[in-house]
């Protein structure tokens, strides 16, 4: 791996940037919800304090293969999200190869799969219900998510992320970005698509049996999902090139605006039942996605 790749993985937008950004975005999520309810909301360092506190909890020891698996899932989620962040085309000179957007989609999907597996492995009835809901929701939103990514790829005739970055005049690109934005609430388990972690019904869903450091890793993974998914949209709409400091600041700003927007929507909506969530994605969002991809293919033939 070359130096630029290492910088992507460990400095920006990887580990060194992503972990504080994850805490910052989680703070933004809670703060936006608080402001929507006319509350003051948590202090800036709250997600950091939560994380440190969880590291200091003494958890009951489990033995056997389940214990190892339950420790493995959150770690795997965090690692795969860091890998996904390293692939983001924030700097044009980063690691980029043909088909890396497919790898990005796979890495973004891994935390959801780990979440489902954690629910089934924990043996808790609430975990199992939450895992089933997450699995169904993941099938529902991934149809739209994949179609949106493919739409963006078709408008540029490539699966290379470095060539997908930046805005174009092609409407297919913007419809694709809209499709990705529509899927972010379900991927982050935000209202109105929060059935899989509906605390009033199933406590914390798949995370019910988690405690201490492993729970802290899950919370970190949630923050990293914020950074990765909003970062993907930001890198698709921001013009590439220019001063790198300015570009990085714009990248954070655009991501953070999405965090505030999606949290405000989450605070302003009630929870959909599972079948309503599926109907939303497989009917309305899917119509948009299919229109987007067919128009993108049509435009490709015409030009």
């Amino acid at each position: 791996m070359n130096l630029s790749g290492l910088i992507h993985l460990f400095v920006f937008p990887g580990l060194l940037f992503a972990v504080p950004a994850a805490w910052f975005f989680v703070w933004g999520e809670h703060k936006a919800a608080a402001r929507m309810q006319r509350r003051i909301g948590p202090p800036l360092l709250q997600p950091f304090y939560d994380f440190v506190k969880l590291l200091g909890k003494r958890t009951p020891s489990r033995r056997g293969i389940e214990a190892d698996l339950l420790r493995l899932y959150p770690a795997l989620s965090v690692l795969s999200l860091l890998g996904a962040l390293a692939l983001l085309p924030v700097f044009p000179a980063g690691v980029s190869f043909s088909g890396d957007s497919i790898l990005l989609v796979a890495l973004l999907e891994l935390p959801s799969i780990c979440f489902i597996l954690a629910g089934f492995t924990s043996g808790s009835i609430y975990g199992e219900i939450g895992a089933i809901r997450e699995a169904v929701l993941s099938v529902a939103n991934n149809l739209v998510f994949l179609l949106a990514i493919v739409t963006v790829a078709v408008t540029r005739q490539t699966f290379r992320l470095a060539d997908l970055a930046g805005p174009t005049t092609n409407p297919g690109h913007w419809l694709g970005v809209l499709g990705i934005l529509l899927c972010i609430p379900a991927k982050l388990r935000l209202n109105p698509f929060s059935t899989s972690s509906a605390e009033q019904e199933i406590y914390s869903g798949p995370l019910t049996e988690y405690a201490g450091a492993a729970l802290g890793m899950w919370k970190l993974a949630h923050g990293l999902e914020w950074v990765a998914l909003t970062g993907l949209v930001a890198s698709l709409v921001l013009p590439a090139g220019g001063e790198w400091v300015l570009h990085a600041l714009l990248f954070v700003a655009v991501s953070f605006v999405q965090v505030l927007l999606l949290s405000a929507i989450a605070a302003g909506t009630a929870r959909f039942t599972l079948d309503r969530s599926i109907r939303f994605y497989w009917r309305w969002a899917a119509i948009l996605a299919i229109l987007a991809i067919s128009s993108a293919i049509y435009m490709g033939y015409r030009s």
Partner: protein, 156 residues
């Protein structure tokens, strides 16, 4: 090493997660506890948040006089909360059984069954008093954490 301990102490003070356990309360104290989360009192400023699972919690908030039917649940839930932990008894019922004292179906007061750190008396207590009690419990919890880490692992 010292600075890490200070950070841990501060984090425990700043981030108390509550688990709310009703042991046969009349719902008065429960409503007052939920009021603390409302815009008027907004305990999220202090980092206090309610959790759905006792495994995620630091502070157990108990309301009610501990009826016979809930006694086992109290012990189970207390055991599920990971160390370091603290217990806040909300209202007069867990402290003294209140008007239910002497009833054959009441197993209270709470301190007969699990160690209680902070009592918030009142029927029901004022939300300000509840917030004060939780903040004190967070202090107690943080200091207990430091003590136990200095001693090594606890015997349990």
């Amino acid at each position: 090493m010292n600075i890490l301990k200070k950070l841990m102490h501060k984090s425990r003070c700043k981030s108390p997660s509550l688990f709310h356990l009703n042991t046969g309360s009349c719902n008065g104290c429960d409503i007052e506890l939920v009021t603390c989360l409302s815009p008027r009192y907004d305990v999220e400023q202090l980092g206090i948040h309610l959790e759905g699972s006792p495994r995620h919690a630091d502070i157990l908030c108990v309301t009610g006089p501990v009826t016979r039917a809930t006694l086992e649940a109290v012990k189970t839930v207390y055991a599920q909360v990971c160390e370091p932990k603290a217990v806040v008894a909300l209202g007069s019922c867990p402290a003294s059984c209140n008007v239910f004292a002497g009833s054959p179906v009441i197993e209270g007061p709470l301190s007969k069954h699990i160690p209680v750190d902070v009592y918030v008396p009142g029927c029901p207590p004022h939300p300000d008093a509840i917030i004060n009690g939780i903040a004190r419990a967070a202090q107690i919890l943080a200091e207990r954490g430091v003590r136990e880490e200095a001693k090594g692992e606890p015997q349990k």
